[in-house]
Point group: C2
Chain length 322, copies 2
């Protein structure tokens, strides 16, 4: 019997527990497991138990960890550092620790600095979420078919265990190093949040907002969806991934400056070409995307991968063949 | 029997026809009508007929207009000017002309300049759409519950007729003047498109896009939805509403500059407060919104309305009481 401890009973922690517990026979690659949940807010742990996200509630961090083979840290970015310090003396020898945090460079540095050498750490980040937060918003299908980033810098046995957990949750392992991860997710995940917040802020701060807001329809609704996300989590993401985000903010500001010039000169050709290009790029992304999320556990093979990382992809056997 | 001519069998023209034809008894305030459709592309008219959006296909503009009581111009912004010139000699005395175009100041100026004094013009703009275009994407429920902007500068009988059409289509008349309209929709409708295109452009133009794109998930999907919209229509919107858009682009650039400063100084407090504010403003908008789109034809009463426009709101009797 394997024990998995999930620390943090928020949206992701509880959704992961639900997915692992409800995996069908073919998916249940971890074998018999018991899932222990812990949150520093006992009511969150109780809610997760009520939603069948965990088998057992731990009242203390020590109780959660003392028999754990695999520990999943599912807390907001800035909470991880202190949590690692608290966990360090409590972790069993040989345990594997992973996390679900949206940024990886700082989290890996904290793990390296604070966790004992007797455990292995594998950075993780499932590319899934929704604007609601907390165990009450958890969904056993949230991770199904989602790309799940893992950092490859760990012992093979540790990678194998975390990867098995990812597969059992119905998600797809995608290895990439922490620096790349942070730069990429800044573009495709954090920048979308910032632009969503920007739209809410610039419109709602306008003196005309009260008269204007009834005109806002489905487009405004969809573009602002991410702005309803947890402010503290997004603040922490900004603080732990600031440099990558600044580069994307600068690229966006440059694009807006070009757009402004085209608007002020009424440059029909340039505007039309730019919007046509944007439409084509999105269509291509949409076409490629279903291949990456068929839900049948295919390994996602990034293009442009460096040769020295190929051995990671073939680790574990059969992953690329299916 | 009233004849309504819809000129332009794209998404909006065909959806409007479908909505008018499928209105139930209570909604059918126009009485018996025949809906004639025309598009300069005859195959578009045929597709609209196939989708039951119109009662009759007109082969020429003259055929479409010669018995029309109400003419709805549902073409891209820049096509309207030439179309008005072509329509001018063909319009029956006393006909009412309206449009569905996303910008109003220039369209009203063209109507004033080009249409004969023997017809009345009411500017219109339904706040509804989707990323697909053409009659094949038309949906009889697209306009249902949507706010439908009308410019109040016309004869009461003309306003009454256009307003009846809006109600029969299941949408909600919302009067505001053309200049306000263009400024407001630039913020809540056109700016969202531009930010959506910006996100696609800055990410897909990155040298890392091929490795990064598989990480893009539901957030990226939703934020880029509008970027799949018709490039020619959005180019025309930019060209007919450039000044209002420049003001919103400038506000966004300023917001991004502030954000950049907060990122570079790791200003946790300011970032957290800003994201909290954005979340609250969106929640308030979401809470207010259902009142405005219950689908039962309530009149939308904008706040901050100027006293001299109140008589417009009470025009027609019973609209505010329901």
């Amino acid at each position: 019997m394997r024990t998995i401890a999930i620390i943090g009973m928020g949206l992701i922690g509880a959704s992961l527990g639900m997915a692992l517990r409800s995996a069908d026979e073919e998916q249940a690659v971890l074998g018999p497991t018991v899932i222990v949940g812990y949150d520093r807010d006992p009511s969150a742990t109780a809610r997760a138990r009520g939603r069948l996200a965990i088998d057992r509630q731990a009242r203390t961090l020590a109780e959660a960890l003392h028999e754990a083979d695999l520990v999943v840290v599912a807390v907001p970015p800035l909470a991880a550092r202190e949590l690692f310090s608290q966990m360090a003396p409590l972790l069993p020898h040989g345990a594997v620790v992973t996390d679900t945090i949206s940024t990886k460079v700082e989290v890996l540095a904290w793990a390296h600095e604070l966790l004992p050498r007797t455990v292995d750490f594998v950075g993780g980040h499932p590319m899934a979420g929704k604007e609601q937060s907390g165990a009450e918003a958890a969904d056993r299908d949230l991770l199904r078919g989602a790309v799940y980033c893992l950092t490859p810098d760990a012992q093979p046995a540790a990678l194998q265990l975390v990867e098995a957990m990812v597969r059992q949750a119905g998600a797809k392992p995608y290895y990439l190093d922490a620096l790349e991860h942070d730069s990429f997710v800044a573009g495709v995940s954090h920048l979308p949040f910032l632009l969503s917040a920007a739209l809410v802020e610039v419109t709602s701060n306008s003196s005309s907002w009260r008269e204007m807001s009834p005109l806002a329809a489905t487009g405004f609704h969809d573009l602002t969806r991410l702005a309803s996300g947890d402010p503290a989590m997004h603040r922490d993401i900004c603080l732990t991934n600031a440099d990558a985000l600044i580069r994307w903010v600068d690229a966006t500001s440059e694009w807006l400056a070009t757009l402004r010039e085209q608007l002020s000169t009424r440059d029909a050709e340039a505007l039309g070409a730019m919007f046509e290009h944007a439409r084509q790029e999105r269509e291509q992304w949409l076409l490629a995307r279903p291949n990456q999320r068929p839900g049948e556990g295919e390994f996602v093979n990034p293009t442009g991968v460096q040769p020295e990382r190929r051995n990671i992809f073939s680790f574990g056997g059969g992953r690329r063949k299916k």
